[in-house]
C-alpha cells in the first residue's frame, strides 16, 4: 500500500488508512490532501480520500475520487478494494463482488479482501464462491478458529453436510485435550451441537446420538442437549427411551405442547389430523389423567383432551375446564376453545353447557349442582363467553344482546367493550365498532393494546386521519407516523394502505404498501453484519436457521398483503391514469365552486410550504454534516409524504410486475397471486402469461368463482381477436388451442355451455352464481337481464344448527357486498342494486353498507355525516372526557401524560 510514495508521504498514507479505521475522518482527509498536493494523481490516495468522504455522506465526490484513483492505478489492489467497499456501502453487492475479485487478481492472498468477499458471497448466496473463498482463508490462516468454522458452514450451506462434518472434526483434532478454556465453554458447546445437528440432518442418526452422549460434559446448554437427544431417539425408533426423555422435559416445562405431542408419538398415540379410534381415545384419556395428577398446574393437560374427547365425555370435560376459568375471569377462554368450533357437534355442546351455567348463575348464584356461591363476576364472564360464541356462529343479534347484558352488569370492564366492538365489526357496522373501541381506549389511556385495537377499527371504518392521530399518542417523538415507520409497524401501514385503497387514494395507499416492502428489503439487509458476527459467536445453528428464514422471507403474510395491495393500486392507476384521487374528487365536487377554488389554493400553499421545509431541512442536515463530521440524527424529510410522485410512474404495469414476480415466487399457492397476474397480463396483452395464471388457478382450486371468471374471460378474449398473422402469433395461438383441449370444463363445449354447466354444478352458492351471471353478461352483453335474474333468484338458506336462539343464514356479509358492487359497477343496473341493498339490509340489520335498520348510520344521526366531520374525535367519543374527569379509573403518571397529549390532539383537530 502506498508503495510508490516517498517515505514521508508513505507514512501519511498509513495515517489515512488508520484514520479511516478509527473513524477520524477529518484527520484522514488532511493527510490525503497533503499527499495530493505533491502527487495529485496518486491513485491509492485519491481512492482513500474518496472512501473517507463517503463516510461523511459526500457520495458523488466519493465516487468521483474513487474512480479517478482507480484510473490512475489500475494495478492496485487497494484501489479495487476501496471501489468494492464503496459499492458495498450502497448495497450494490454484485458490483462490489466484481471489484473484490479484481483486487484479488492482483493480490490473491489478501486476507482482508478475502474476508470481505466471503461476507458478500454469503449475503448474495453465491455459495460456490463462498466455499472457495472460505477454503482460501483457511489455507492461509489455519490457526484461526473462525476460518475452520467458516469453511464448514460454507459447505453446509452449499448442501454438503458431510464435508462440513469432516471439517469440524478436523478442527476438533487441532484442539488440546483440555479444550475449551472456561471462557469458551459456551461457544464450544454450541459448535458441538451444530455438528450434531449436521449429523442428524445428514441422516447419520446413530453417530449423532453417540457423539452427543460422548460430548455431554462439554455441552453447556442442557435444554438444547435434551431436545436434541429426544429428537434423535424418536427418529431412531428408540421410543421407550424417547418417552422417558419427554416425561423429563415435561417435568421441566409442562407448558410446552410440543413435548406432549412428542410423548404421544413415542406411545404410538399421535395422529396429525386428530383422528383416533375409540380404543386410542381411551388410552389417551388415561395418559392425560395421569399427567394431570403430575402437573396439576399445567393447563395443557386439561386442554389437550378436549380435542380428542367426544360426546358426553367431552361435555363433562369441557364443563369442568370452563368453570374455574370463568370464576377466575380468564378473558382468553373463548379464543382458547375456538378451534373446537370446527367440529359442529362440539359447538352445540359448548352452547348447551355455557347456557346452562348462565341460567344457574342467574337463578341460584352458583354453578349447577354446587352449593357454593360464585362471585358476581362469574356471570359477567359467562355472558362475555356467550357473546363471542354467538358472534362466531354469525348470530350477531344475540351476541350483542349478551354483551350488552354483560356491560350493564359491569360497566367498568374494558374487555367487554373490545369484544362488543369486534361483534359490531363482524355485523358490518364499522363506525359503531370504531366508536366502541374508542370508548374502550379512553378507559385506560396508558394501555397501548386497546389503543392499537382502536386504531385498527378506525382504519376499518376508513377514518384514516383520526386513526393516525390516535396511533401517534404512543409514538415517542409524537412526530406523526415517522416513528411507526421507523419501528416497522407493518400492521398499521397495511391497514392504513388498505383503507386508502378503498377510498381510491392511490398515492397514499401505495406509499403505505411500499413502506412495508421497504421494511422487508431492510430485513434482508439486516443479515449482513451477522455473517461475521455469528462465526465469532458460534451461534451456528441459529445462524443457519436465520439464513433459511431470510430465503423465504417474502412468503410472510405482511409482505404478501403489501404486494397484493401495491399490484392492485398499479392496476387501478393503469385503468384510470392521471385522474386525481377519487376522495379528493368527491370532496371537491361536493363544494360550491368558490370554496373549491379556496381548497385548491390551500392545497397548493401547503405543498409549497412542505417543499420549502424539506429544502431547509436538507440544507441544515448537509451543513451540520459538513461541520460536525458524523451526525446522523437529522432525518431527511420525506419529499413525497402523500405518495403523489408514486403516481407519476411511466408504466404502472411494469411496476406491478416487480411485485408480481415476488408473489409468484414466494406465494404461488394463493389464488390472489394468480388472479392479479391474470389481470396484469391481460392488460399487457401477454396472453401466454395470462394463460399461465389461469393454469395455476385451475391447479389451486378449479371450482373457485375467480378461477371460473379468469378461465372464461381468457378464452372469450382470445376468441374475439382477429386471426393470427405473424409466425409468433400463430405459435402462441396454437399453444393456447392445445392447452384449451386439456381443460375438462371446456371440452366439446362452447364457453356459454361451460358457463351454464358451472352454474348448474354450483347453483346453491351465491358467489358461484354471481360469477356465472357475470360471465354470461361478458359472453353475451344482451343477456344482462337474464344474468341479473340469476343473482336475484339466489336463496339465502337458513343454517340448521341445533339449539338455536335465533336464525343464522348462509350468506356472508362481504360476499353480499361484493355482489352489490357487481350489480352497481359491472352490470350497471341501479334498480337491481337497490333491490339487492334492501334485501341485504334485512339479512344484515347492522350493516352500514346496506343501511340496515340497526346500524349506527341510521340510528345515530351524529354519524350520518361526511368523513370530515365524523373524523373529529369529539363526536366519535362522547365518553372521553367523562371517564377522565369523573375519576372512574385510576390514572397513573404515564397515562396523565397521554391524557395531556390526547387533549392537545383534540385541540388541534
Amino acid at each position: 500500500m502506498g508503495t510508490s510514495l516517498p517515505s514521508r508521504e508513505g507514512n501519511l498514507f498509513k495515517l489515512i488508512v488508520k484514520s479511516y479505521e478509527t473513524k477520524q475522518y477529518k484527520k484522514g482527509l488532511k493527510a490525503a490532501d497533503s499527499i495530493l498536493k505533491k502527487f495529485p494523481n496518486h491513485g491509492e490516495t485519491l481512492s482513500m480520500k474518496g472512501l473517507t468522504l463517503n463516510c461523511l455522506d459526500r457520495k458523488p465526490e466519493a465516487y468521483e475520487l474513487v474512480r479517478r484513483g482507480l484510473k490512475n492505478d489500475l494495478k492496485s489492489h487497494v484501489c479495487w478494494h476501496v471501489y468494492g467497499l464503496l459499492y458495498r456501502s450502497d448495497r450494490e453487492y454484485r458490483e462490489a463482488i466484481k471489484c473484490y475479485r479484481n483486487a484479488l487478481r492482483i493480490d490473491p492472498d489478501n486476507i482482508e479482501i478475502l474476508r470481505d468477499l466471503s461476507l458478500l458471497q454469503a449475503q448474495m448466496r453465491d455459495l460456490d464462491g463462498f466455499v472457495e473463498t472460505r477454503q482460501r482463508l483457511l489455507t492461509l490462516k489455519p490457526n484461526h478458529r473462525m476460518n475452520w468454522i467458516g469453511f464448514a458452514v460454507a459447505h453446509h450451506l452449499n448442501s454438503n453436510g458431510s464435508k462440513a462434518i469432516e471439517i469440524l472434526e478436523a478442527y476438533e483434532g487441532t484442539l488440546d485435550d483440555d479444550h475449551p478454556p472456561d471462557n469458551e465453554r459456551c461457544e464450544h458447546g454450541e459448535m458441538l451441537l451444530y455438528k450434531i445437528s449436521l449429523l442428524e440432518e445428514s441422516g447419520l442418526l446413530e453417530r449423532a446420538l453417540e457423539e452427543l452422549h460422548k460430548k455431554e460434559s462439554k455441552i453447556v446448554d442442557k435444554l438444547a442437549y435434551k431436545e436434541q437427544e429426544v429428537s434423535l431417539l424418536t427418529k431412531l425408533g428408540l421410543l421407550e427411551e424417547g418417552e422417558k426423555e419427554y416425561r423429563l422435559l415435561l417435568s421441566m416445562n409442562p407448558d410446552n405442547y410440543r413435548y406432549y405431542e412428542g410423548l404421544q408419538r413415542c406411545l404410538g398415540l399421535f395422529s396429525e389430523k386428530g383422528h383416533y379410534s375409540s380404543d386410542e381415545i381411551g388410552q389417551l384419556e388415561e395418559l392425560y389423567e395421569s399427567l394431570a395428577q403430575q402437573y396439576n398446574k399445567s393447563s395443557a393437560v386439561k386442554r389437550i383432551p378436549l380435542d380428542f374427547l367426544e360426546g358426553e365425555k367431552f361435555q363433562k370435560a369441557v364443563e369442568s375446564y370452563i368453570r374455574p376459568l370463568l370464576t377466575k375471569g380468564v378473558p382468553s377462554l373463548f379464543s382458547d376453545l375456538s378451534p373446537l368450533y370446527d367440529h359442529p357437534g362440539k359447538a352445540d355442546i359448548l352452547e348447551h353447557v355455557v347456557l346452562g351455567l348462565e341460567l344457574s348463575l342467574k337463578t341460584s348464584g352458583g354453578y349447577p349442582g354446587s352449593l357454593d356461591k360464585e362471585p358476581p363476576s362469574t356471570l359477567m364472564w359467562a355472558l362475555f363467553y356467550l357473546a363471542q360464541h354467538y358472534d362466531r356462529r354469525d348470530q350477531q343479534d344475540i351476541a350483542l344482546a349478551k354483551i350488552d347484558e354483560a356491560i350493564v352488569h359491569t360497566p367498568t370492564a374494558i374487555d367487554l367493550y373490545s369484544v362488543k366492538s369486534r361483534i359490531l365489526k363482524h355485523a358490518g357496522d364499522f363506525l359503531a365498532a370504531a366508536a366502541m373501541a374508542d370508548e374502550a381506549r379512553c378507559m385506560d389511556l396508558a394501555d397501548r393494546y386497546i389503543n392499537s385495537e382502536c386504531v385498527k377499527r378506525m382504519l376499518q371504518a376508513d377514518q384514516v386521519t383520526l386513526a393516525e392521530k390516535t396511533a401517534v399518542l404512543f409514538t415517542k417523538d409524537g412526530e406523526q407516523h415517522n416513528n411507526l415507520y421507523d419501528m416497522q409497524c407493518m400492521w398499521y401501514e397495511l391497514a392504513s394502505g388498505e383503507s386508502y385503497l378503498r377510498q381510491g387514494d392511490l398515492g397514499r395507499a401505495l406509499k403505505k404498501f411500499l413502506a412495508v416492502e421497504k421494511h422487508y428489503a431492510d430485513i434482508v439487509e439486516d443479515q449482513f453484519d451477522f455473517h461475521s458476527y455469528c462465526l465469532r459467536k458460534m451461534t451456528l445453528r441459529t445462524y443457519v436457521e436465520m439464513l433459511k428464514f431470510q430465503d423465504r422471507l417474502h412468503s410472510h403474510t405482511y409482505f404478501r398483503k403489501a404486494a397484493f395491495g401495491a399490484v392492485r393500486c398499479y392496476i387501478k392507476l393503469y385503468d384510470s391514469p392521471s385522474k386525481p384521487s377519487a376522495e379528493e374528487d368527491d370532496e371537491m365536487s361536493k363544494l360550491p365552486p368558490s370554496q373549491r377554488k379556496k381548497l385548491r389554493q390551500k392545497q397548493k400553499k401547503a405543498e409549497a410550504r412542505a417543499k420549502k421545509e424539506a429544502e431547509i431541512k436538507t440544507e441544515e442536515s448537509q451543513a451540520s454534516n459538513a461541520s460536525k463530521s458524523v451526525k446522523r440524527h437529522v432525518k431527511p424529510v420525506d419529499p413525497d409524504p402523500h405518495g403523489e410522485r408514486l403516481l407519476q410512474v411511466e408504466d404502472p404495469l411494469l411496476e406491478a410486475t416487480k411485485y408480481l414476480k415476488l408473489l409468484q415466487e414466494y406465494s404461488p399457492d394463493f389464488l390472489e397471486t394468480h388472479v392479479l397476474s391474470f389481470e396484469v397480463h391481460m392488460r399487457k396483452q401477454k396472453r401466454l402469461c395470462a394463460l399461465k395464471a389461469v393454469r395455476n388457478l385451475l391447479r389451486l382450486n378449479a371450482d373457485h368463482p375467480d378461477t371460473h371468471r379468469c378461465l372464461i374471460k381468457f378464452f372469450h378474449k382470445v376468441g374475439s381477436l382477429p386471426a393470427a398473422v405473424t409466425t409468433a402469433e400463430k405459435i402462441i395461438w396454437a399453444a393456447i388451442e392445445e392447452e384449451r383441449l386439456t381443460y375438462g370444463q371446456l371440452r366439446e363445449k362452447s364457453l356459454l355451455e361451460a358457463n351454464a354447466s358451472f352454474f348448474e354444478t354450483h347453483k346453491d352458492s351465491l358467489m358461484h352464481r354471481a360469477a356465472a351471471a357475470e360471465m354470461l353478461f361478458v359472453l353475451e352483453s344482451n343477456k344482462k337481464d337474464e344474468a341479473v335474474k340469476l343473482i336475484e333468484e339466489s336463496i339465502n338458506e337458513p343454517l340448521s344448527i341445533k339449539g338455536l336462539l335465533g336464525p343464522a343464514r348462509k350468506w356472508k356479509l362481504k360476499d353480499c357486498i361484493a355482489v352489490h358492487s357487481a350489480l352497481e359497477k359491472i352490470f350497471d343496473d341501479q334498480d337491481a342494486a337497490l333491490r339487492w341493498k334492501l334485501r341485504c339490509a334485512e339479512y344484515f340489520p347492522y350493516s352500514t353498507y346496506f343501511g340496515g335498520k340497526k346500524c349506527s348510520a341510521i340510528t345515530k344521526l351524529a354519524h350520518h355525516q361526511t368523513e370530515e366531520t365524523s373524523e373529529s374525535a369529539g363526536t366519535v367519543n362522547p365518553h372521553a372526557t367523562e371517564f377522565s374527569t369523573n375519576g372512574n379509573l385510576e390514572k397513573s403518571e404515564g397515562s396523565k401524560d397521554l391524557a395531556g397529549q390526547l387533549h392537545s390532539s383534540l385541540v388541534l383537530s
Binding site: 461457544e187 382468553s332 378451534p339 394501555d447 397501548r448 421507523d486 419501528m487 430485513i523 441459529t542 397513573s892
Partner: protein
C-alpha cells in the same frame, strides 16, 4: 391453554408485531436478530391454541460488565391473554436459561415507575428488588426502577466458594462475557407489561 417454548427465528416477526401492538418501547427487526443470534437460549414465546404469538420475553447477557449477569430487554403479554400466568412462566424460563447456560449471577430489568402492575409482578411474584432509580430513563421523561433479582443457583455456589466469589462466574459457561456486541437497540430500554 398457551404453549411456552423457546423462540425460533421464525417467531421474530410475530414477536415484533406483538411488541408493537402492546408496548410503547419498540425495536427494529435487527435488534431481535441480534438477540437470538447472540443468546438463542434466552428468547421465549407464548403461543396460543391457534398458533398465534400472544407473549414473549426478549433477554440478553450483559457482556461488558465484570459481573456476568442477564438482562430482560422486553417482556410482553397481550391484554387478551392476562390472568394465565404467562409473564411469570416466560420470565422463569428466561431466568433459568441465563443461570444454567451462562452462569448469570443476577438478572436485571427496568420498569416504568408508573407501571404498578408490572412492578407488582416483579417484586411479589418473581422476587425482584429495586436496585436503583434511573431518572428520566424513558423517552417521554419518566423514571425507571432498575431492578435486580439474585439467581438462586449462584447463592448456592456462594455458599461453597465464597472465598473467591469474584472469579467464580468464570467457572460457569463463561461464554457470556466474550464477543462483541455490534447491534444497538434503536429505542430506549424495555418496558414490561404485567398480567
Amino acid at each position: 391453554m398457551v404453549c411456552i417454548r423457546k423462540a425460533t427465528v421464525d417467531d421474530l416477526l410475530a414477536m415484533q408485531a406483538c411488541n408493537l401492538f402492546c408496548l410503547p418501547e419498540n425495536y427494529q427487526m435487527k435488534y431481535y436478530f441480534y438477540h437470538i443470534l447472540s443468546w438463542p437460549q434466552l428468547l421465549y414465546v407464548a403461543e396460543d391454541y391457534n398458533g398465534k404469538i400472544v407473549g414473549y420475553v426478549l433477554a440478553k447477557m450483559e457482556e461488558e460488565s465484570s459481573e456476568c449477569h442477564g438482562h430482560i430487554t422486553s417482556l410482553a403479554v397481550l391484554r387478551t391473554h392476562r390472568k394465565l400466568g404467562l409473564a411469570t412462566k416466560l420470565m422463569t424460563a428466561a431466568q433459568n436459561a441465563m443461570e444454567q447456560v451462562y452462569g448469570a449471577e443476577y438478572v436485571s430489568l427496568h420498569v416504568r415507575k408508573s407501571n404498578r402492575a408490572a412492578f407488582n409482578l416483579y417484586t411479589e411474584t418473581l422476587g425482584y428488588k429495586i436496585h436503583d432509580v434511573e431518572a428520566k430513563y424513558y423517552a417521554d421523561g419518566e423514571d425507571a426502577y432498575d431492578m435486580r433479582k439474585q439467581l438462586k443457583g449462584k447463592k448456592h455456589q456462594h455458599h461453597h466458594h465464597h472465598h473467591h466469589h469474584h472469579h467464580h462466574h468464570h467457572h460457569h459457561g463463561g461464554g457470556c462475557c466474550s464477543g462483541e456486541a455490534k447491534v444497538e437497540g434503536k429505542a430506549g430500554e424495555p418496558e414490561a407489561k404485567a398480567e
